[in-house]
Symmetry: C3
């Protein structure tokens, strides 16, 4: 992208009524339409500044903290990349090495790590009913510390995946769709099939499908959610999707047929997840350290999953989509039949055809995270971005 | 704080006879009174520069190394924050991932990690007789490497808690007392009760009480140390406290009564620790991998602790203090009765009343560590700080 | 070194036909003689810039990724130091904390961590036939991602030790020899004894001896490789050494006698390694999780090793070398008899006499790594280095 185009993007940004300053990014549906647009636009501007070798370093010092209560590769590296781009240094709160087991309160830890911190990224997705609440608990503790003069600045919280939503993923997905279809306006009326898919594992978070139906319904899209009986999502996220579709002039439909969902779809997003009732049961067992119970649950779930091995994104299914050419999406890593497992979410030939597309989809995540931070930390982000472009300090000094 | 005030602080610093350049910070009582004052003042200047958005980045590159032989949250993050503030990058020497188990000497490791390093922060507090010695062994190795042309610069060592002292904690405590009482001169004659308190755990380091009695006795304070029979500190630290009190015109007293200590105190610091004789025994058992012995020792100690459950900082005890309003201090995390444990060091209502105060107490630590580094690495620190203020480079570039 | 000397070094560099831009550094014998010279010279320039307090920060942001599939202290810290010197932030790909176990392909992971990365340092030395191949697989994935617009830049790969070569070690060794003997031209005709030595451990990589014979034979040296029967190196590396010696006018000889090798040597490099056939067997057992097999193999190998306890670098052996004063080298940590083990690779008195020399040898590694990165990432490295010198930005800003 040429620099003049970046300028146009900044002008677009200036016209939005952005209300993100001083606020955490926890659920996309807590953000206004303008906030969503601003995040997409800012991510794109940052990506373009980067690609034009313009430094986006707005901090000379400061920490960015990550708290991962579940494994992660791409989100971990995306967060690290995002804060590094802005000039912050990563500090991972590794609970194994801390004194937190000791009975320390969330309230206390949140303050203790934040004296010179600007952002806290949190992944907490394994416990239904707890991940997002934990982020809010941290947020309240930071508010308290900031208000009472303990903290000189209030670090902003970025949800790196919780039990409810996965906003850095879905916003990156949306960046990619915007790019792929040549603008958000071109998403209107398009059909996206967010479907369950078979996987030989269990206990996968629900945040991606929940986040996708919550976000894409705002774009005037026809969102069809499909899953085998029993694999329900959190009821509250279904409500969000319904309301959003209504408001945006889009559609939201639930079915129990992958074929039905794929029919005439412009986009398909087949992905495994665990039923939320299983996740609830699992939380109880985990808390009781009930290993036998956990094993029994796993066995039961895997057996149940196995009934739906035909929920695989095959070439035949792809043929049902719009001109047989729907865009395949995935948050990665996908369970690819014959590659990463015997039978999985997607046929190898389908995945391979869209492999580079899924990589490009992922490539937006660092910039989405950086955008979320920037918009939360700087009241006049459009001016800041304009200044970065004008000053043109080089990222690579040569 | 206004910038003009920072200027005054720098002027104050200029008048001190600082002898910290090129020296490690291992024990507060190895530092002169002017060194202590300089550290406090520098910490305050750095805090104020930070709060005025003035960058304190004096390094464009260089590593700051941390070696934690015990868990840590706040010290870990404080050290990370401190070195980041000065422009260094953190590199943790995680012994599990290194080849050190392999029989490598401390002398060798110290040099191998230091080719481009400016500071090494070390926590080594679990082994009586070993932590501080280890730091000196590292220091000697660095001296040797530097003298012989292996190292281009001599990294400075900061004691992040050893078996004897916890200087970054006690100096942060002193910063906080200075702030709370409006100046060091206002500490003269005030009574501080450093007392043991009950905890349902055992094996807590002795470095905080030892460090507190060693440092506060220099401020002309009346320091009263109280603990149940058998919970003695290292005899050498008692000697230090006695001498310091004598020299400063303060007082130092030991009793076996929490009531006695709290009576008319301006400040109380109730905190659990293990008797040093237990710690010595434990070291032997640890070295022999004597699991049965360790379990037996733990059982015995916990039983012994349990005899002193009444050593809890309750509301009733607080009423004995000066006007019932002594400042409660703690290095955190505290064992709070009914919050982090069934019965602990402090009543929940007392802790809650002083909670934000303890957070503020902790907030000085990053700046204290940065001050220790700065004064060890730069011969004319007052000029450097003055220049930072004058040049006024922004930390947040917008 | 004075700045005028650095200028001379840069001029020297300008005259070389450097072909490293855009290429990974995987094996020294894939690099031209001019590439080797350029790496040595650039490393020295960077070291001298550093020692003259001139900042070498060419990046304002960007990640440097490390992937360690084996333990490491010095290489880990050297890599961290190198990328920090250039302005990059370290991000370790810790496979335990990632989703990689999940069946994710190397191709995918390589792209996922590289969106804002400039370099990937990899240690993968435990599996004969796999380490170097893995690096090439990562490289091919990056090429693919870069070519197809997934990545905006192609991170360069630096081999931090594989099953075949250990180029950052051997190049640092060569820097040290150049310094020690006052120039590469003074290495011509000198005898270096690369010999096996006894160690009470088994399974040590072969990369150092293989790398040493592959590199030093290019310097016109007389390289003698000596090991007990059965401790063969990879046949392909023997071929490389033979060809290199022939081309450079040096010599390459293999014997089964440590005495023979030490006789009249200018340099000795006694170091333990495992026979490659054992390593091959071990790989199979590891892959089958055959614990019993592994234990049996270890037992057999240690017993076999024990037959050669007399392969120790003793004072008597040292007397056989040129004037009894050959330079002793080691990649560290060495197994020192009576220090790190009962009986090992080298006598304590020999090691102690050369200890500081081995530390200096190691001190070149951070600069060698930084040189490899710089030459791969910047097409006109001589100009860049000249500019750094001219602009003279300070590393320590005071």
């Amino acid at each position: 992208m040429k620099k003049s185009k970046i300028k146009d993007s900044v002008k677009l940004l200036e016209k939005l009524n952005i209300e993100m300053f001083g606020k955490d990014f926890l659920l996309t549906w807590e953000k206004s339409d303008d906030d969503i647009l601003a995040t997409l636009e800012t991510a794109e501007i940052l990506k373009n500044l980067y690609e034009n070798n313009i430094s986006c370093k707005v901090y000379e010092s400061g920490l960015g903290i990550s708290i991962f209560k579940d494994n992660s590769t791409r989100t971990r590296f995306s967060f690290a990349s995002a804060i590094n781009l802005l000039g912050l240094a990563l500090m991972d709160l590794d609970e194994g090495k801390s004194q937190i087991a000791h009975g320390e309160t969330v309230r206390e830890t949140a303050n203790m790590v934040s004296f010179l911190s600007e952002v806290i990224g949190i992944r907490h997705d394994m416990y239904i009913g707890e991940g997002n609440s934990y982020m809010r608990e941290v947020g309240a503790a930071l508010d308290d510390g900031y208000k009472n003069g303990v903290l000189h600045q209030r670090p902003t919280i970025v949800n790196l995946q919780c039990d409810i939503d996965h906003p850095t993923q879905t916003m990156a997905d949306l960046c990619w769709l915007k790019k792929y279809f040549g603008g958000l306006e071109n998403l209107k009326g398009r059909k996206i099939a967010m479907t369950w898919a078979y996987s030989p594992s269990y206990g996968k978070p629900l945040s991606v499908p929940q986040g996708i139906i919550g976000l894409m319904t705002r774009m005037g899209m026809e969102v069809e959610l499909a899953y085998p009986e029993g694999y329900d999502l959190l009821p509250e996220t279904i409500e969000v999707a319904k309301k959003n579709a209504e408001k945006s002039g889009g559609k939201f439909k639930i079915s129990n047929s992958m074929q039905e969902a794929f029919k005439n779809a412009d986009i398909v997003y087949p992905k495994s997840w665990a039923p939320f009732k299983v996740m609830e049961e699992r939380v109880k067992l985990l808390k009781n350290n009930d290993d036998a119970g956990l094993k029994a649950l796993e066995k039961k779930c895997l057996e149940n999953n196995a009934k739906y091995k035909n929920w695989e994104c095959t070439e035949d299914l792809m043929k049902l989509t719009k001109d047989g050419k729907a865009l395949y999406m995935h948050c990665l890593p996908a369970d690819i039949t014959g590659v990463s497992c015997k039978a999985g979410e997607v046929a190898a030939s389908v995945f391979e055809r869209y492999r580079l597309d899924t990589y490009k989809e992922a490539s937006y995540k660092p910039f989405v995270i950086a955008a979320m931070i920037l918009l939360a930390k700087f009241e006049d982000a459009p001016k800041l971005l304009g200044d970065l472009l004008k000053d043109g300090g080089k990222r690579i000094n040569f």
